[in-house]
Amino acid sequence: MLKKQLTKITIMSLIIPKIKMNARIQFFVVTIFALFLFKTLNNTSSSFYFLISNEILIGISAASLYFVLIEWVHIKKINPLTLVMNIGILVAVIFFLIIFFSSTFAELSGFKISGQASFGIFPKIISFVYGYILLGTSIYIFLAFRELYFFKQKGNRSTYFNTMLVFIILSSFSSILPAEIIYVQDTFFIISIFLIIFNSLKISWIAFIVKKDKKNLLFLSIIIAILFVMNLAGNTKENAGSQIIFQFSPILNQFLKIILIYGSVYFSILFFTTLFHIPTAEAFDRKAQEVSSLQYFSKLITEVLDFADLISTISDIAYTINRADASWIAWKENSDLKLLGNKNIGFINAELITGTAKEAKINFDLSETIFFPLDNYLNKLQLSELFSVVTISPLRMHNEIKGYIFTAKRENSVLDEEDKNALDTFADYASVALENSHLFEESIIKERLEKELDVAREVQRKILPTKYPEYKQLDISSLFIPAFEVGGDYYDFFEIDNDNFGFVIADVSGKGISAAFIMAEVKGIFESLSKIIKSPKEILVKANEILQRTLDRKSFVSAAYGLIDLKNETLRISRAGHCPVLLIRNNYSENMRPTGLGLGLNFTDYFADTLEELKIDLKENDTIVLYTDGITEAKNKQLEDFGSIRFEKILVDNCYDNADLISNKVIKEVTLFSQNNPQHDDITLVILKWKQLIKNYGEKEWQNSALQLKK
């Protein structure tokens, strides 16, 4: 506890031992007590030793008071105006004390002008208190001057001040020297005065005071200067009050005199300096405010990243820059301007003004802040609050205007070049900050998107079949290459029973996680429908009905469903908006393209009406190819499509190979074609080859062997 209270103290520019504050106060109390005893108990005031010991005691007490006060003033961090007020109060106290003692007290105590200390204990105490109060106030005033001197002072100027302090002390002490060497006293005194005048000129702190306070200061400084001068004038040997001080300590008397001179000089100079500062005070205030708001804002750049917060902050600061009354931000969204963060202005008014400005400055392609007086538009505008002039500053990112800062002013005051420059600078800062926030948001979105895509890819991977059905008559191959942004491709095989094999291919519109979820649902729908319905058309009609519940209006699913009857060797197929199913037979490719709308495009009976079902008899080596547009729309660097012609040619050229080989061939060609152009959509390719079971008799056996020969 104690350690905390005993803060270590170092006094600027004064090399004194690091004495703890408590110790200082204790020491001060001891000295004042000692001095009090000395003053009240001793009567032999005329002896030289008495004089010396008196001065030494007072000196020690004064010094200890000085070190107590210096710390106190320092800790308080009093602002200059308060210091001035303090000085004013103290000098007034001195003024009234001197008046009081000169008239009333002197009479009451029978104190004579001749100045003999032969009065009773009560007057002694009173004169001690009086003397000590003057000692304390003059030390405090001196310290206040010291604080004012160092306030907002650049560089180390303590040398001048300390020199002055030394000379003031020397001058004070020299007052007890014998009259023969009065020139020493005069020399110190003159040097002190000279240094006081010199140091009084260092009043740079008034520049940092706002205009209102400057006016107060002007008033205060003249009153205080007058008080100091009056006190100084009253401080003569004829005055009873001064006599008491002189008797209390000649050094204090001299010190007080110097302080009074200091005060008179300082406040006179302060008065005139303030007077000269007043005309420029407003400009200075403005500049200071601009600087501080710009500093504040550049700090914010690193702190605010949320776009909405940032807009609000920018708007908050904007109108303070040119001392306008309101501000808002018009942010470009597509071709419109969206109003954000309006401050001190209603949304309707802000919109009216923005609209008018936009109409008046047709293209609105500003390179710098413009002023837009509203005078000519006021009748048309019908504002509920009067605004007479607006500034518009463009917010630019990458040389593109992203929005505008608007500030509006009620009074029709002239906005000058300074305002314009300040707003321009501010708009630049704001643009950088907005850009940062934009980039930050973008990176968050990107990260989230990537996570989403990971999930989507995982869903897709789990949905697609991992093994092929085992039918002797079918050679099956399937291939799926996902795009970076999951494309929503889906295919599946259904071993319905020994004689029936169903298959489906589908492509969900859109990409990413939403497509992956629809895909999962589509899988569920086909998986269950394939078990209860055989007809491909009916399955698609039913699937459409079920999907109505989940698909939003702009999503749809293209699908093709096929059913192979292994016993009767037939294929039935229906198509709901999907790519045609290809049948490669006898070196010829046929597009099986029964009509049908995509799932989710229509939920009325019309859907079933337009859906066709195709039925074909399967022949040996028939190759059925299911695919999604990821293959035909694969693009090369020139953005040309791979196309169906190229695709079908490969299929025909390789139609006697097994399904896997054909699939490999296709992918190889697609890869070669697209070079390194990134794949934008999922690629799905499913190949089913029909192999007739070799029978011991009949025509088909002959065909088979013939085909094998051909191979």
Binding site: S509, G510, K511, K554, S558, G598, L601, Y606, T610, D641
Partner: protein, 121 residues
């Protein structure tokens, strides 16, 4: 990746939307905005000119599905015109010709609106 833009023109009560570039999942919101703006202003007779459209993805097609219901409820329509063969094929595969009127030229589509209006009277 690719650029996409729309512009609109008013011919009497009919709005014509010109599409340019690549219409996919990323650029679809631009077209969505165009449609919402028209609907907000109560403009339900729309012709979409595909002349300068290079590519349309499934997400792009979805935009037309998103607004057709609302537009037709208000006795309006979206008519499509001037498609390249490639773009038409994409529409055709999905069966869009069964749902939308698709014309060779913008004039044909506009005239169709004018005709139907005179019938109403």
């Amino acid at each position: 990746m690719a650029e996409f833009s729309t512009s609109t023109k008013e011919v009497g009560e009919i709005s014509i939307i010109y599409l340019k570039g690549y219409l996919d999942a990323h650029t679809a919101p631009t077209l969505e905005n165009t449609f919402s703006n028209l609907i907000e202003k109560g403009k339900y007779r729309t012709v979409v000119n595909f002349n300068e459209l290079n590519y349309i993805s499934s997400a792009g097609l979805g935009v037309f599905m998103a607004y057709i219901e609302k537009i037709r409820e208000n006795n309006g329509d979206i008519k499509l015109s001037s498609m390249s063969e490639k773009v038409f094929n994409i529409f055709d595969l999905l069966g869009f010709p069964l749902l939308y009127e698709i014309y060779q030229t913008e004039e044909e589509a506009v005239n169709k609106f004018i005709e139907s209006k005179s019938f109403e009277k």
